[in-house]
Amino acid sequence: MIGAALALARVKLVLELRRREVVFAMLLFVAATIVIVHFALRADEGAGPRAAAGMLWAAVVFTAVLGLLRAFAAEAEEGALDALLLAPVDRAAIWLGSALAQFGFLVVVELVAVPLWWLLFFQEGGPEPLPVIAALLLANIGIALVGTLAAGLALGARTRDVLLPVLVLPLAIPLVLAGVTATYGAFGEEGGGFGPLGPLGFLALYDLIFLALAWGTSEHLLGD
């Protein structure tokens, strides 16, 4: 099951390396989003840590949704999905494999987006890097798990592309709240909340809960 998921994730990453369909678009999108939110907040008049943290997280979440729109695109367009469903693998493996690939795309995007964000907003100073990176990685896991599940649900829908953001964004609100709090805390400012768990613990809890829920329901994904 894990082996099948890893194999599927590898296929997706290799395909992406050859075609460069998704990640390149995500990179342009994340840069454009950071710039748009920056101007929307008039952050040129001195971006406070809170505004900067918000910009990063808004951009990451919207970019993740863009990537998710193509989560099952290759399968759906080329009829590979039927073959996959006929193959003797768990449907959970199909879901997990796609989630792994999405996670990989997000990491690649953030490798570019986070330094860019840093450069644009913090010529000197800036947050401690470790908590921000940890929060991003944990949030990537959560959004890849939940988002791929939602993409699987929306697969047969007539309005798939419009539907997916509407399904994913409410699920991502807790992630953004925790991520922004963690980033804000990395500036040495009081982020507040989340009790003994802390925002990072909360993100881990989010990942665990949705991993369990999604795993349990993933056999009902992707149609009959």
Binding site: A154, P170, G193, F194, G195, L205, I209, L213, T217
Partner: protein, 232 residues
């Protein structure tokens, strides 16, 4: 499918006809004005029971979704849909009465620092998307499973949102029910409980009526197909 039985409409109808007006009478003529908030506190007897009822309806929808995934009986799918639908209707009422109370009591229509109302908003947005998902899939097994999975995922969102929205702990939302019991006079508590029972009966009534309607529609469809000589 018939094995699940028909939910009664008579009992909830009678109960809601008695309890909802009784709540109004008790709220206006029996309970005194709140020392702190005065007359505006009366909306408590409507707002809070409606909110709890809405959570109950979402919970019921998620429970029936789990039952559907387990048993594969389309009846559970209908019940799950009806649960989420009622939850959304009551949820709309919550989002209407909440700001009215907030304006009267805190002076603002919406308070982003408040936990309860923001958690509710997240959940409401989430379950609104349920209808988009459901109605953009063609009728059949695929639609039923996808709706069920989505309705069930909301169960994870409720506790997580409660944890997440604690960030700005302003404590402005009245915390009436604490671990040491209800912090209000008995007249208030009784009126509140009457209101809660009334709203729950009203929800049961709405769900039973809608379920009947949906079943009849399905039956008509089956008969039409049979009349045309197709396989049902």
């Amino acid at each position: 499918m018939r094995a699940l039985g028909r939910p009664s409409t008579t009992v909830p109808l009678i109960l809601s006809l008695i309890l909802v007006p009784l709540m109004v009478v008790l709220a206006f003529w029996w309970t005194g004005d709140d020392v702190d908030q005065g007359f505006s506190q009366k909306i408590f007897y409507l707002h809070v029971p409606v909110a709890l009822t809405s959570y109950a309806a979402f919970g019921y929808g998620a429970f029936c979704a789990a039952m559907y995934l387990w048993r594969r009986d389309p009846e559970w799918d209908l019940r799950s849909y009806v649960g989420v639908h009622s939850g959304t209707i009551f949820g709309t009422l919550v989002l209407l009465t909440g700001p009215i109370w907030a304006k009267a009591s805190w002076g603002v229509w919406w308070n982003w620092g408040d936990r309860q109302i923001n958690v509710f908003l997240i959940l409401f947005l989430y379950y609104c998307a349920y209808f988009m998902l459901r109605f953009s899939l063609d009728e059949g097994e695929r639609r039923r499973s996808a709706s069920a999975v989505y309705a069930l995922l909301g169960v994870g969102l409720i506790p997580l949102s409660f944890l997440a929205v604690r960030i700005a702990e302003t404590l402005i939302h009245p915390t009436v029910f604490t671990s040491s019991g209800a912090a209000m006079p008995n007249t208030f508590l009784v009126t509140f409980l009457v209101g809660l029972a009334g709203m729950l009966s009203l929800m049961a009534l709405l769900m039973a009526v809608e379920l009947r309607g949906k079943r009849t529609a399905m039956r008509v469809l089956e008969l039409q197909r049979a009349a045309r000589g197709e396989d049902a």
